[in-house]
Subunit: 332 residues, 2 copies
């Protein structure tokens, strides 16, 4: 008989995440109660925000408690349904956590069609990361054709969509990524106009060369020295969408940003945002992204770990930038 596998938070990391922060356990498959569905998860999404949920620091969402199942986006198939909106066999995307089986009252579960795009895409380019790119770029930066869009973590699940949406808007798309392979991927596979390798040691000069007309829109995923350098090339009246600060998440002490003056002098608008604040835009973003992906107008790449027991290691790799594109765990 089938058994459930779950990954629990065993301890809170102090600094970099370690495998001992997780506990992989085997449990009974839960029984769905009245009004509930039982879902078998097929794919788990790994995302940088999970690092915040592992810590005790106050954030925009409830932290995971010690001993609880790690939070995470999933796509799976309904095994048994006592819920009028779902039937056995339906494919559903939601946030059922790092586990093979889960029951749900249906909140936050959406039926998706694997004939439009592959199931895993609903966790990446056509899911939360894609919607994050769409909302941050189109709603908060609102770039005009001919402007330059700069995005950090350009080869990541979010950054890759930002650059391609920028191109579709008629903008110059410039990425920042770590290493020649990621930069090449952004330019050759995703169609960025340029991508700067922050590990090459001359980030500011390289940014100036890649952005000859300066930067009008900056989509920030990384923070730290990368952000400080990007602030130096901002144009007057530019917009910054502050989406993530991954370089700070595991640091003992946050980086001190020196170029605040650039935000003043250039009259910059900086907007921190969380994708889930705008449910209206989320739905619109996903439906447009499904269309663009199915038409081949937006490309994506997935880095896949096999099986739930490998999720902790894959997550640690994600935080160190080992992935290319969307980091997933294939569960079944």
């Amino acid at each position: 008989m089938a058994r459930n596998i779950q990954v629990l938070l065993a301890s809170r990391p102090s600094g970099p995440v370690e495998e001992t922060n997780f506990n992989v356990v085997e449990t009974d498959v839960p029984k769905p109660g009245p009004g509930e569905v039982l879902v078998k998860n097929l794919w788990l999404s790994l995302d940088p925000y999970m690092r915040g949920r592992m810590s005790a620091a106050k954030s925009y969402a409830k932290n995971v408690e010690i001993g609880e199942v790690m939070v995470g986006g999933t796509v799976g198939q309904v095994v048994e349904s006592h819920h009028p909106k779902f039937k056995a066999g339906d494919h559903v995307v939601g946030s059922l956590g790092w586990q093979l089986y889960a029951t749900s009252h249906g909140e936050g579960l959406t039926v998706v069609d694997p004939k439009l795009v592959p199931l895993s895409a609903y966790l990446g380019v056509c899911g939360m990361p894609g919607a994050t790119a769409w909302i941050g770029l189109l709603e908060h930066c609102a770039p005009k054709a001919g402007e330059t869009v700069l995005v950090s973590a350009a080869s990541g699940a979010v950054g890759g969509v930002v650059g391609q949406l920028a191109k579709l808007q008629g903008c110059r798309a410039v990425g920042i990524a770590g290493g020649a392979r990621k930069c090449e991927y952004a330019v050759k596979e995703l169609g960025f106009d340029a991508c700067v390798d922050y590990k090459a040691g001359k980030l500011i000069d390289d940014l100036k060369a890649a952005c000859p007309n300066g930067v009008d829109n900056y989509f920030e995923n990384v923070g730290g020295e990368v952000m400080d350098a990007a602030f130096r090339v901002l144009n007057p009246f530019s917009r910054v969408a502050l989406c993530g600060l991954i370089s700070d998440y595991s640091a003992a002490e946050p980086y001190g940003t020196k170029m605040m003056r650039a935000l003043l002098v250039n009259r910059v608008k900086l907007q921190g945002f969380i994708v889930f604040d705008r449910q209206d835009l989320y739905v619109r973003a996903v439906s447009q992204l499904v269309k663009l992906v199915s038409q081949g107008k937006i490309k994506y790449h997935e880095t896949v770990a096999e099986g739930l027991p490998n999720a902790p290691k894959a997550f640690m790799g994600l935080l160190k930038g080992h992935n290319l594109g969307k980091q997933l765990v294939k569960l079944a």
Copy 2:
């Protein structure tokens, strides 16, 4: 026969401004050409932005060149006019610089009425600093009644107006200032609900106590550690109007801001702004401020230095926070 007095930029400061950076000279009173007016300045405004114009660093406006007259806002009286819009005896506010007499083609000169508010007020509460407060608070923060407004440099020319406009909007107005005297002035004379002394050594705790419901709107004049502390008490969806970073202007190395994460987690909108970008709002702001001041609904304080030769010393004092309210130089 009358002589002109001018204060020239003698050298660019490296770090704190010194008197040797200025050169006070006596020259002939200029003769107005066709289409020009000759103005005798009565008051000179001293403002933190002038520190930026003394340096060679790129900013939003042209720097003062070595040997040029220092830039600055003035209010004076037309002595002789060859311009159809002005007649001898008119009082005019403009930006004629650190000098007793100046000619002008009339651009940027506005006739003002000394019967509505005292002439000097057109350089402070009813001039550029007042309009800065108005635009930053009402346009960029847009506080709602019941919200908390926090402003740094609360006893300064801009900060004092921010707090009073916040009260008129039905908000809780909390200031940050340096020293007990300035804080007492903000609360007892300007009507702030509370004012925190950043020199008292427990800024974060004091801010939390003064803002029991957190901060919804933060008007930043200072930067550095003060800003980092204020970022810690921001509420979700709060707004930051980034007006000035005076603590950085004379520092050899800019302060490293550690709390960028607070802008992300709380989905903060931060907007850098310069008052002169919005001429439409400027005119509306000044006309409303003249009305509020003449009705006694907005109060102000002036710190006055006597005579142009004392302007450099007064400016150095301003950068060190020695002034209370608007720093002026009385020229005649």
